[in-house]
């Protein structure tokens, strides 16, 4: 469903028709976003990280998720793992710096959770942040929606 809307909107942008992006790839209000299409949800000093609905839609069926080990350090904007779909491989970057305190082990046996539930059951890692000031460099939901729209219109 999401992908049908995505395509409709893409066709529309190709034709230079303006369309509302509400209801297209879902973007959640209370999250922050990296320009490489990862989201972060902050709770105190703990940050949960995953890839966005837009990213999973572009990737297609996710068949393997490569994750760091608990205890590994991650850096804002740097790759911490990879997502493999039937079609392709994509690096996954961390929106925040810090130490990995938990990984979503369910993705080992059910990588498709990244497609079916990108913001909930498909989360990838939890990070203990070393610098919460970095959050200011990330996009809010409105800015990220606009960013996706612009990126798609280039196609």
């Amino acid at each position: 469903m999401a992908s049908r809307l995505l395509l409709a909107s893409r066709a529309a942008s190709y034709l230079r028709i303006s369309v509302s992006h509400r209801g297209f790839a879902t973007v959640l209000k209370d999250l922050k976003y990296l320009d490489s299409h990862e989201w972060v949800k902050v709770d105190g000093n703990s940050a949960t990280v995953g890839i966005t609905d837009h990213a999973q839609d572009h990737l297609g069926d996710v068949v393997y998720v490569e994750m760091p080990e608990v205890g590994a350090s991650v850096t804002q904007g740097q790759s911490f793992g990879a997502v493999e779909s039937v079609k392709a491989t994509s690096d996954v970057n961390s929106p925040v710096s810090g130490k990995v305190v938990e990984i979503n082990e369910k993705l080992e046996s059910s990588p498709a959770l990244v497609n079916s539930s990108p913001y909930e059951n498909g989360w990838m890692i939890k990070v203990e942040m070393s610098d919460s000031g970095e959050l200011n460099k990330l996009m809010g939901s409105d800015q990220y929606s606009k960013f996706c729209e612009e990126e798609d219109s280039k196609h």
Binding site: L59, V86, A88
Partner: protein, 407 residues
């Protein structure tokens, strides 16, 4: 077109993580304007096709169905692919067969009229210039289809040899079928659905056979072949009738045969153990190394007479130094260029195609290993992003083929 399809997918998704977005966007923009469009381009777009650049053409990598669903549906029901980017070619003249036999490994003279085979165009070193399905329509007419990405190279090669051949008095000429479109109809419903659109009895046309016939009111070339491992056809149809025919096929199948893009086509051919030229076969690979020894006709083994015959015939006798084999593996799916190691960690080769098999729900790959380590059951390591993963040499096809052959 090295790594063409996967690179394509990667260029789409890597973009998600690209630091230099302007450069990437610019590159896309620059190429998109120059891309060729098939007669079905608007139809693809109207049906939700995600159009991507492929071998100089704008082609659908997938439609609304996921690549996983499309792959499964082809084996369960059927798929319709637009493969008009591929180049259809007729060689005509009373010397067309001896001419072609200088360039390919097949026993073209030995083919019965109306039958064809997979073959390889070779260079002087025995390497593959391209693979192609060739059909002997009759003694003075050969029909063949070559890869889109190899079109210019192949045509230049054929033309150069044709000039020399004609200079010596040989009677051969060509016609490039740019007035036609090519549709591939594959899967268990291919024959029953196509039968609704023609009066010819398709049950008498077996795998590898060819005929010219009327389909849905158009004069078509029909080859019972494909690139999925399923029963099916490739239909060459006048371009102005291609849209009508595509619609009729989809309609007659009552929605069960689905438009299918290049993404699923790649999964399907990999599951069927078929080579993608540019990935699994290149200028420097011989057909023997690629596991296509069967395609060197018996008479050709005795007589030679094709480019690179010395190298190829020697390899048949002595065995090739490397061989194309299949693998199952655990961990992330292997991709083109993943290193293959023996159990001790020594380099023994490289993956040329790989991915997750939608039908088998596990990783499959093909690649080249040193002879001696090519036997089914040999344990290997496949290195992905620096980490070795368990793999085992496996017979291909990974998914049993269902070609329609006389019982």
């Amino acid at each position: 077109m090295r790594g063409s399809l996967w690179q394509l997918g990667q260029s789409i998704t890597r973009r998600l993580a690209s630091g230099d977005k302007k450069a990437v966007a610019h590159r896309y923009f620059a190429t998109e304007a120059e891309l060729k469009k098939t007669a079905l381009y608007d139809f693809h777009v109207a049906n939700g096709g995600k159009m991507v650049p492929f071998a100089g053409w704008s082609m659908p990598i997938q439609y609304k169905d996921s690549i996983m669903d499309s792959t499964l549906n082809c084996r369960e029901n059927g798929s319709l692919f637009d493969v008009s980017h591929m180049c259809g070619l007729s060689l005509k003249g009373k010397d067309a067969i001896p001419f072609l036999e200088k360039l390919v490994i097949a026993d073209v003279a030995g083919l019965a009229p109306g039958t064809g085979t997979l073959t390889v165009f070779t260079n002087e070193k025995g390497g593959a210039i391209d693979d192609s399905v060739i059909t002997k329509v009759k003694d003075d007419h050969i029909y063949l289809v070559v890869n889109a990405g190899c079109r210019d190279k192949d045509l230049a090669h054929i033309e150069a040899h044709m000039k020399a051949f004609k200079a010596k008095g040989g009677d051969v000429s060509w016609h490039i079928h740019d007035e036609r479109s090519l549709l591939a109809l594959q899967g268990p419903l291919a024959a029953p659905v196509l039968q609704h659109l023609t009066k010819e009895d398709l049950s008498k046309l077996y795998f590898g056979e060819f005929c010219m016939l009327d389909i849905h009111g158009s004069h078509c070339f029909l080859t019972r072949t494909g690139y999925t491992g399923e029963d099916g056809f490739e239909i060459s149809v006048p371009s102005e009738k291609a849209l009508d025919l595509a619609k009729a096929i989809l309609e007659k199948s009552e929605g069960k045969i689905r438009l299918t893009g290049l993404g699923a086509r790649d999964s399907l051919r990999l599951e069927a153990g078929l080579c993608l030229y540019g990935n699994d076969m290149e200028q420097h690979t011989t057909p023997i190394e690629a596991g296509l020894t069967w395609a060197v006709g018996k008479r050709r083994r005795a007589e030679g007479g094709f480019l690179g015959a010395e190298v190829i015939l020697k390899q048949i006798q002595e065995g090739p130094p490397i061989r194309r084999v299949g693998f199952f593996s655990t961990g992330p799916p292997p991709r083109s260029h993943s290193e293959i190691q023996d159990e001790q960690g020594n380099n023994i080769g490289e993956v040329t195609s790989g991915g997750f098999s939608p039908c088998l729900k596990k990783n499959i790959a093909m690649g080249y290993v040193k002879s001696g380590l090519h036997k089914a059951g040999t344990n290997v390591k496949i290195v992905i992003r620096g980490k070795p993963n368990e793999g085992v040499v496996t017979k291909m096809p990974f998914v049993p083929t269902k070609y329609y052959k006389p019982s």
